[in-house]
Symmetry: C2
Subunit: 326 residues, 2 copies
């Protein structure tokens, strides 16, 4: 086995493409699995317009079509990155990588938002190390294979599981950290990655669902309206309470109100309107990620006996309007 | 003054037209104020297709245009019935009858849904008796001046105000009761009309707002979906709690759960899909009655220190989607 890292990226929208480009820059052989943008990427790779890294063309070493799911691969991948949407209510997300995992040494790296996204992978691949990540990359695929990227490129991560078998060793974390640094990706080994996931969820759950249900408002408009801003704050408070109960510790050391305030301030001071991916999904009549962003937290809250009237309301309305569209 | 009753009906949709027809049948002189259906009604009256009363044409004694608001009237009306929508957030609803009230003896009869609908009238006409009603009439204006009516025709009512001045006497109630009976309208003098209003509101608040926010589902579909049905039940529970606190007594003698169950059963066993007026208003880009149906109850709940997370959520989303449409 050559020392060159062999990497697969499944789901190459804005996030997957930027990471793929960085990993190739760091010397890895990078394969990508594409769905809607397959033809474009196969033809001419990704055009990446990045404020952080400059304008580049990223031509993957191998482009695989997601539709050709018989394409079992005999290649050994050091890392399989999953940056598809997480839709366990539609299909088992772990099946997307089944053709590509032929060794327990392949490290599965999950870049998805939400709570409980790791479960389908840990069930299907119980012997593989799974790295659960919180992604901070402000990139979008503005048209198939054309990626607009800002200045953020950061991964927070740690193992999914408290199990500290030898395989789930610090060596894996150190190697991954070194590789990310080589790729000029900011690397943060989080002492409590689930806490980070809940912190990100507080924003995603409130912003995504309320944007869709309010008729398609951007974050700034929602924050400027007293009623929707109050609703966003109340929803975030609910998520903080659930996360606290599920993890048996507060999500932040300081004041929850200050955290919520910082989310709201951030969106109020942004120069441009920012829309959540859930709204794009709704507008383009694609399934929304309401399972991992709202329903899984509600289910965990019930087990922890925490009341979630707002999350339940938003969920009921979201699946109802989705049902009339899909 | 002749003994013939002189009646004005302001707002002649399905409800106003059916009552007008009945009052003329009972021997009254009936004038109507029309908005969108003025030309049609002026030309040929109302065609009323009623399962209860048979098919009739109701030609009002006088048809007044709502747009001609300079038309101050020197006629004395015994009763002014108000069956317009209640939109205090858009305009003062009491102004619609200002040209027609020239005596403190005119009895104002409010047929509108919601809480606090009487306030604008009691402020503008502090000396007139105001009868607050809960209307049970299943009629719809299927096209301008064409009314479809089922089998219900009932009014529950009593004075708005606890003030028992001589003018607000039992004589007024008795006369009104006798007149309704003559008109073959079922007449129920309610010992606690505000309680009846809250009971009706429990359904209206839940059904109207959730129908709109769920993408336009009818009552039966909402009740058949476990998530939206749970949301409707929870919303009704909230309204019951607010009404209880505001009136300082429970809305029903028995179990709240049984009352909620009866609302849900009723809608589940209906042969046809039934849609709330709030949905029609939303679909036709007209203002919705969210002020009197949701916001006023929220404000009263705050004063009574009752928590209303669901009503607040529904309200925030409703005014947000309305803002993008009107």
């Amino acid at each position: 086995m050559s020392s060159q890292k062999n990497i697969l990226i499944v789901g190459t929208g804005g996030v997957g493409a930027v990471f793929g480009s960085r990993f190739q820059y760091a010397g890895a052989r990078v394969s990508v699995v594409c769905r809607s943008n397959f033809n474009k990427v196969k033809e001419s790779g990704f055009t990446i317009r990045s404020l952080k890294f400059g304008n580049t063309v990223f031509v993957p070493d191998c482009v695989i079509s997601a539709k050709n799911d018989q394409a079992f691969d005999s290649v050994f991948y050091d890392y399989v990155f999953v940056s598809t949407k997480s839709l366990p209510n539609v299909e088992n997300p772990a099946l997307a990588i089944l053709p590509f995992i032929n060794s327990p040494d392949t490290i599965i790296v999950l870049l998805q938002n939400g709570i409980g996204v790791e479960d389908p992978f840990s069930i299907l691949f119980p012997n593989n190390p799974i790295l659960s990540c919180v992604v901070r990359v402000n990139s979008t695929q503005i048209e198939p294979s054309i990626i607009q990227h800002g200045t953020l490129c950061c991964l927070l991560y740690n193992f999914y599981t408290s199990l500290k078998s030898p395989k789930f060793s610090d060596t894996i974390l150190k190697e991954f950290d070194a590789f990310l640094k080589l790729a000029k990706v900011e690397s943060i080994i989080s002492p409590n990655i689930q806490k980070e996931r809940w912190l990100k969820l507080a924003w995603n759950a409130a912003f995504g669902s309320i944007s869709v249900l309010s008729g398609g408002k951007d974050g700034k408009s929602l924050a400027e309206d007293i009623y929707t801003c109050t609703l966003m704050r109340d929803t975030m408070r609910e998520v903080f309470a659930v996360g606290h109960a599920v993890l048996s510790e507060p999500l932040v050391d300081g004041s929850i109100e200050e955290s919520i305030e910082s989310y709201v301030s951030l969106v109020l001071t942004r120069p441009n309107a920012v829309y959540p991916s859930m709204l794009y999904d709704y507008q383009f009549k694609r399934p929304m990620e309401h399972q991992v962003i709202i329903k899984n937290p509600i289910d965990l809250a019930e087990k922890a006996k925490v009341s979630t009237p707002l999350l339940k309301t938003l969920y009921a309305l979201l699946i109802s309007i989705e049902g009339g569209r899909l």
